[in-house]
Symmetry: D2
Subunit: 327 residues, 4 copies
């Protein structure tokens, strides 16, 4: 099929590559002209503007936006809405807030433009491994785009089939899924990322406890000097905690067993926050996912006001003077 790709950064360019390798025709645009040049050098069709991209495509046009969520996606979708015609399709492949998707879909529907949100997981590995796609939108458009999704997705690969699915049809086993109406794709992707935060923190806490198992505060006969890269590796086979994140952890620990190349300043994107918001709106307890988010917040601060409040109270009631080194 023919598809326009807006945003030729790390994710967008890789997805276009995978699509072209799968036999699709891609027209690429990026605000950074050099990205377009690179893309053309790799065999893609380049466009120097949104307008040119739209004009290059045949109706019904399919335009995939792979630009940062928030203002850039909003302005891109708005600009496209003024260039596209009835029956054309806009796909937001970024990490948009699902409520924005629902709103955009409604607005564009009034113009006869179809809007789809496709949560995309796979990171820098996706170009080879394939992208797990969580799709929100209307059924006819999802069906129309099936060849695109099939190419981007990982396919069945060598992953064991789930027992009991013999009579199941559908595309989930191929690594892509129509989740529901507009917004649902990003909703599911949001939860995916929320879970990701929680899993990462579970490993992080566990490895932190292992790393401190030789602390001088422990009795001498109960101190262990553990080899973290080897432990990550051994858990990759036959253990209950095996996962792709563990595979990546094993790589990182082999590269640098004490992770001294990292400061531990951890950013968060919107999905972790939105997951907590969704939990609150539904009144569902989410202790783990929230704690994982807060740990990221905390990692970016030193000497918080909250901690100073505790010190101040301790001094007031007990005359406790702060120590400045670990006790």
């Amino acid at each position: 099929m023919q598809i326009g790709m807006i945003g030729l950064g790390k994710m967008g360019a890789n997805m276009a590559r995978r699509l072209m390798k799968g036999g699709h025709t891609c027209v690429g645009f990026d605000v950074n002209a050099s990205n377009v040049d690179t893309f053309k050098a790799e065999g893609g069709l380049g466009a120097s503007s949104l307008k040119e991209l739209v004009e290059t495509l045949q109706a019904p046009r399919i335009v995939w936006c792979m630009v940062p969520a928030g203002e850039l996606t909003e302005s891109t979708v708005t600009a496209l809405s003024e260039l596209l015609d009835e029956g054309d399709i806009i796909i937001d492949g970024g990490n948009s807030f699902y409520k924005d998707d629902a709103r955009r879909a409604k607005t564009l529907a009034a113009q006869g433009i179809h809007y789809m949100d496709v949560g995309t997981s796979g990171g820098v590995w996706g170009v080879e491994r394939g992208y797990c796609l969580m799709i929100g939108g209307s059924k006819p458009q999802v069906e129309l785009l099936d060849p695109i999704f099939k190419t981007l997705a990982p396919g069945k690969g060598d992953i064991d089939p789930t027992p009991g699915r013999d009579n199941f049809t559908g595309t989930a086993e191929q690594g892509y899924l129509h989740c529901g109406p507009a917004g649902s794709g990003h909703f599911v992707k949001m939860i995916h990322n929320g879970i990701e935060y929680g899993m990462m923190m579970a490993y992080a806490e566990g490895f932190d406890i292992m790393r401190n198992a030789d602390s001088e505060n422990l009795p001498e006969n109960l101190r262990y000097d553990l080899d973290l890269p080897e432990i990550a590796e051994v858990w990759r086979r036959g253990s209950v905690v095996g996962s792709w994140l563990l595979d990546l952890t094993a790589i990182a620990l082999v590269e640098n067993p004490d992770l001294s190349n990292y400061t531990g300043y951890v950013e968060d994107s919107g999905e972790g926050r939105w997951t907590v918001q969704a939990a609150i709106e539904e009144a569902v307890p989410a202790h783990v996912l929230t704690a994982a988010l807060y740990s990221r917040f905390r990692s970016r601060q030193q000497n918080t006001f909250s901690d100073k409040m505790i010190s101040a109270m301790r001094k007031q009631f007990g005359g406790h003077i702060e120590k400045t080194k670990p006790s």
Copy 2:
């Protein structure tokens, strides 16, 4: 090699089977005689008592205890210590508390008996998939038992090698690892289970939010009726949250999408609790692993005293009367 297996329950019998299939000779004992009979019918050598088991083995005797952690393991090890000779080896393959291992190892060392603790992961799947082994003990004994561990472990299998490990030697890639002195095997297994609790809770919270995404409390245009079995399946390919636990979740959800065959009464074994204790002893924050543990505690109660306390305070200061149905 020749090995004695004490405890022919779910785990012990399967391990013995895997060992025998790997060419080792197993002498089995269980307090339940019918388990011994079954074991003999499968080609194992049976013993009707610990004494007979010990007498059947050749020195240096290797005895693997696979009985429930706590009193039963303690009494079994004590009984063995009175039957075994200098140079013999006791292996505790259960989920003992690592401080108990350190104590037992010291006590037995005075008699010349070697003690090893082997944290064993793999559950009911281990007989075919192999067991991930985390080993604590002295190097000579670990080396002596290498054929046993190699047979029990999953081996390299078809899991991709970790980039950067080309120059690494050791057994971690085979799925077993000598972690350090006595206690360290169970320490690492304890953390493994602690992480497992956290990962499970991350999935559980995420799926709970997805299940409630069609709540009547949400705006009508932002409700999603999500197909959880399909979502679990699609995440198995190419996503960041892929894991063995997710594979199992996909199986469980295919069997029963609303999990109505479960009450949600979740038990915990010791490892989750000990992980929190270790975190506290080391002064390492472990919000996620602890919250996962507490959620299990909470699952076994209804109408907690804590909740009643909150209701009582609300009534006192605000005259709030409890509702009895969801608001």
Copy 3:
């Protein structure tokens, strides 16, 4: 001064009583006519409609809304905006979301109507004890209304002055405070309630641990059958955890030591949720306030889907069958 009070429920009627006792004139309206009748019987002026209330007041009119936050407050403010004149003042004394205040203030300012938000704490005790007032709005209006605030607030009372405040002026020691522009009053009240959730949960968890200190799972020589009403009482004098909430807890426990008159179904109003949202928007970790909120969510459910997910995974990997009674 003369003031209109809209909403003569538990809070509004009590506030009007305190104002009248303090020499102010109150015109009251409530959608429930019998509340208006009661109010008139107590010496208030009654209005049978918003229109009548507005017509009864002299310009510049001061109208205090004490109706449930959300739709009712929104519609009341909108209705008032069509009845009031330039220079009049609307005060929202409910528990509105501070972002709604900021929006309303801006909208009304275009009409020349002043909007103030007054977070009000004190509950059913306020009529006698006075109400702690957190005020958002413009300085001239706050100054104009000072006699109203002074009457509603508790005043200095017999509470010890804070050392070091000798040279401080302002009204905080009287129990009311101009916090900043519109929205800030409810922002501070929101945080107040967030803290309240956290404090309540701290007590609740502590008392729950004490109540379970005689659990059969504990060693017999370390079980304590503690007298909770007496403990609450003894902590009221000289301890670090003394507070008004503890005073109320002591009352509740004297009434019913095992709180068997409560089910433990705990509701939450918006402030706890908004506090968490504010924390997330600011990237400030709020583990305690959030956990307190989630515990309320959890109290309203039994057998959560999350718990069933954990049970399902445990069965899949370990063959663990759920028990149905406490282990």
Copy 4:
């Protein structure tokens, strides 16, 4: 009465002062001789050794240990057990672990020596305000020591009686309470401190959110520059969150509104940790108390290994490079 006080530090000396002021005779000992000199200068009887202290007292001797919990208390109690006679009484007024109390009481009982544990709250304010006492031990000894407890405790003071207690007898309203057998006093004090941690953290989080309410990451029209000392003060009157800890917070914030005299390095004593242990042993969820403890752990670290783990995983799957300044 006559009593020996061992440990004349901040707490012990103040308690002896309050006892002497109440008409009791105190014999003081401290390993630091200058503390004994000071004590004598204030009218106390000094002892230069435990032996001398014991010899100075009349049988049945009453010895109050006010030395740091742990090894020092253990060695002091052991030394005393060799000096005292049948019928004498040792009181541990420190913050001992309740399981140690239970053990010591049993050991000493074999010698006919009585052991009592008295959890003591009040900090540096106790000398004037009185100490809240939580007492574990046998009834006859508790009754014998009633005059001592009555003098140390705050008494009824001007605190309002709890409605409904008219027919209650007992000492709780005086600020001291016999909680149960040996260990129970420190158990209740442990929970008291656990609750204290939770309450402190509730305030700390709330004030941290208020302090960051003018963050540049927030929309300009929703930023508030809040006056924290004034807010702490206004909440002292009529609000739901009024407490002694809030009174102290108000003092600290008046002294230094941004708490720049604190680093936020927060220590923890044993009680917070033991509270979590007790919760786990009883299987009672304690999210809030635990989170408060973990926040203290976290305050003493910068750049945790856990945070680096998260960064490492993010780089592996998404190519995310750490930023070094807040985003």
